[in-house]
């Protein structure tokens, strides 16, 4: 168990470098496999980095430790971000990233159940991760365990009714060790999220559902660290972080361009992207 996480001050520079590296790995996977959803991966990788290198109490050598903190990637289409994170964090060999979306591999386009260490829940159908996380948080309470549960949702995922069933339930149950992070990159698969189903004002909605809701910069690792570490935060409520992000973050020609929901980078674009990320 990583007992230091959350106790010593985060090394902001190191976290930023880590996030850039993970972006490079996700871009490589997308290029090698021709896979979609790269923009969604890049928007959430600062959050993932803070979770796995600063906040979560975890032990990659003992991935099913009953006392570990849980992190559920509810937006399962960002699987490349999760795989890059888990491999780099030591859950499985980094070389396995090359098998992403290849025949006979463990790294499918959405995270699998009971197959890959570190994957807490199979996701890919939206609106499932939060209820599962609630079950985990309730289990912790019932069994007298101290772990915390984090669920990362996409903004488009907030279209799902099950999210709001879960939101009302979690606040009624005062699940103060539960944290939702909404990767609010303002896009869903085919359109602006606010023009599809109106999310705004999103923080107000979560607050109205009984959560301690905050708006944060989803690319500010120091702010994310402070908010995500602070759980329970004394409010007696579950915590919702509305993380303002940019789809395709870190690569100028991908940022806020929703074509990168579906297209994969060419070899030349990979080189350019790596230069921008300082990885060249």
């Amino acid at each position: 168990m990583n007992l230091h996480a959350g106790r010593i001050a985060p090394d902001i520079g190191a976290l930023k470098r880590q996030a850039a590296e993970l972006r490079g790995k996700a871009i490589a996977m997308s290029h090698a496999s021709g896979s979609a959803h790269l923009g969604s991966c890049l928007s959430c990788l600062d959050i993932m980095t803070v979770a796995y290198w600063d906040v979560l109490r975890l032990d990659p050598a003992n991935p099913t430790d009953p006392l570990r903190d849980r992190f559920i990637l509810s937006k399962g289409h960002a699987a490349m971000a999760l795989y890059a994170t888990l491999a780099t964090r030591g859950y499985f060999p980094e070389a396995e990233l090359a098998t992403y979306n290849k025949d006979n591999g463990r790294l499918a386009e959405h995270p699998p159940a009971n197959l890959l260490p570190g994957v807490e829940a199979a996701t890919g159908s939206l609106g499932h991760g939060l209820p599962i996380g609630i079950g985990m948080a309730l289990s912790g309470r019932i069994q007298g365990q101290d772990y915390r549960v984090y669920a990362l949702l996409s903004d488009g995922e907030n279209n799902e009714g099950s999210v709001w069933e879960a939101a009302m339930f979690a606040s009624a149950q005062k699940l103060e060790k539960l944290c939702v992070i909404v990767d609010y990159n303002k896009w869903q698969a085919t359109a602006r999220s606010n023009e599809t189903l109106q999310l705004a004002p999103l923080r107000d909605k979560w607050e109205a559902f009984g959560w301690d809701a905050h708006e944060v910069d989803g690319h500010d690792v120091a702010e994310l660290s402070e908010k995500m570490r602070n759980l329970p935060n004394g409010s007696g409520k579950p915590v919702a972080l509305i993380a303002h992000t940019v789809k395709g973050k870190g690569v100028s020609f991908m940022e806020d361009d929703n074509n990168w929901h579906y297209r994969a980078p060419t070899a030349e674009e990979v080189v350019l992207a790596r230069q921008e990320l300082g990885l060249a």
């Binding site: 829940a121 599962i132 985990m136 069933e165 879960a166």
Partner: protein
């Protein structure tokens, strides 16, 4: 069945600290004893079945044994994807218990009828499907699923059904059918809450000189293959009886098995169940059964025709 379910659940809750009861805002007072004994392990999840099923899966992933409970269509169809993806794909011990199987809530109208749930749930990998024939089978089934590790579905009637078994069923086993009555001319395989009608049919047939065997086939998945093999070998006519659609239910499961095992050509299989239609008239279960040909004497008539 539901009162005996609540009673057995309370006993099991006393024995197993992992058992958690999740209700979809029904069962007013039904679970008072369980709640009193285990307040932290009774949770009213409200009228939000998708969340209830997802959180049950999360609990099961974290070492608990959740039981989810509400009226049949809402604890099955309403949250079918959560059952499939969260509970069955992860293959975790969530027990889905439904009240109001088939036409048990006939009077509440088609929104509350449940004649498709067996079809939906038995097609999902890892799922066990149990349709108890009486309250003793409910108790035994609940106890049995708590001993296994995967997801399970228990489909109950409502309250006040006749008790068929004399008491505790000592050797109840998931996937092993129970002979309720011996016979030589025809074999009636009944699943679920229509078991009393199957027995009435056998009485009726006996009065007409036909000896009917009656089997409570409480588990639809996995099927008791040994029993099917034996039944098709011994009897010229085998009938399946269920309060469920003829499409995809118990009879379908038996027909699939018979075709796959090349058993059918020399034997006749009769499937008795509800038609491919919503039943829209008002009226209680007995009336609905009469309209749809599911009472004991109607079943007996069908069998006699088949034997001619």
């Amino acid at each position: 069945m539901r009162n005996e379910f609540a009673d057995e659940l309370t006993k099991l809750g006393n024995e197993d600290p992992r058992l958690v009861m999740l209700s979809g805002d029904i069962g007013n007072r039904l679970f008072d004893k369980f709640r009193a004994a285990h307040p932290s392990r009774f949770i009213n999840c409200g009228v939000a079945e998708q969340n209830m099923m997802g959180l049950a899966a999360g609990m099961a992933m974290s070492g608990l044994r959740p039981v989810t409970y509400t009226i049949t269509p809402f604890v099955t169809t309403r949250c079918l994807e959560q059952i499939r993806t969260d509970a069955c794909y992860h293959n975790v011990p969530v027990t889905v218990v439904s009240v109001g199987a088939g036409l048990a809530y006939a009077g509440l109208g088609p929104t509350h009828h449940a004649c498709e749930d067996i079809s939906f749930l038995r097609s999902i990998p890892n799922m066990t499907v149990i349709c108890p024939g009486d309250a003793w089978e409910v108790r035994a089934a609940l106890r049995a699923v708590m001993q296994q590790d995967g997801p399970a579905y228990i489909r109950m009637g409502k309250k006040g059904e006749p008790l068929i078994h004399p008491g505790v069923i000592p050797d109840f086993k998931i996937g092993r059918a129970i002979t309720m009555r011996e016979g030589t001319d025809v074999c009636l395989l009944s699943t679920g809450n229509i078991l009393p009608e199957a027995l009435h049919a056998a009485e009726d047939l006996a009065q007409h000189g036909v000896s009917a065997q009656v089997v409570s086939f409480h588990t639809v998945k996995p099927l008791d293959q040994d029993r099917l093999r034996e039944s098709f070998a011994r009897f010229p006519v085998v009938a399946t009886i269920e309060e469920h659609s003829l499409i995809g239910g118990f009879g379908s499961a038996v027909a699939e098995w018979a075709i796959d095992n090349a058993t059918l050509p020399s034997k006749r299989l009769i499937r008795i169940g509800t038609p491919d239609a919503f039943f829209k008239l008002s009226g209680e279960q007995e009336f609905a059964r009469e309209c749809l040909g599911l009472t004991g004497h109607q079943i007996a008539d069908r069998i006699r025709q088949a034997l001619r």
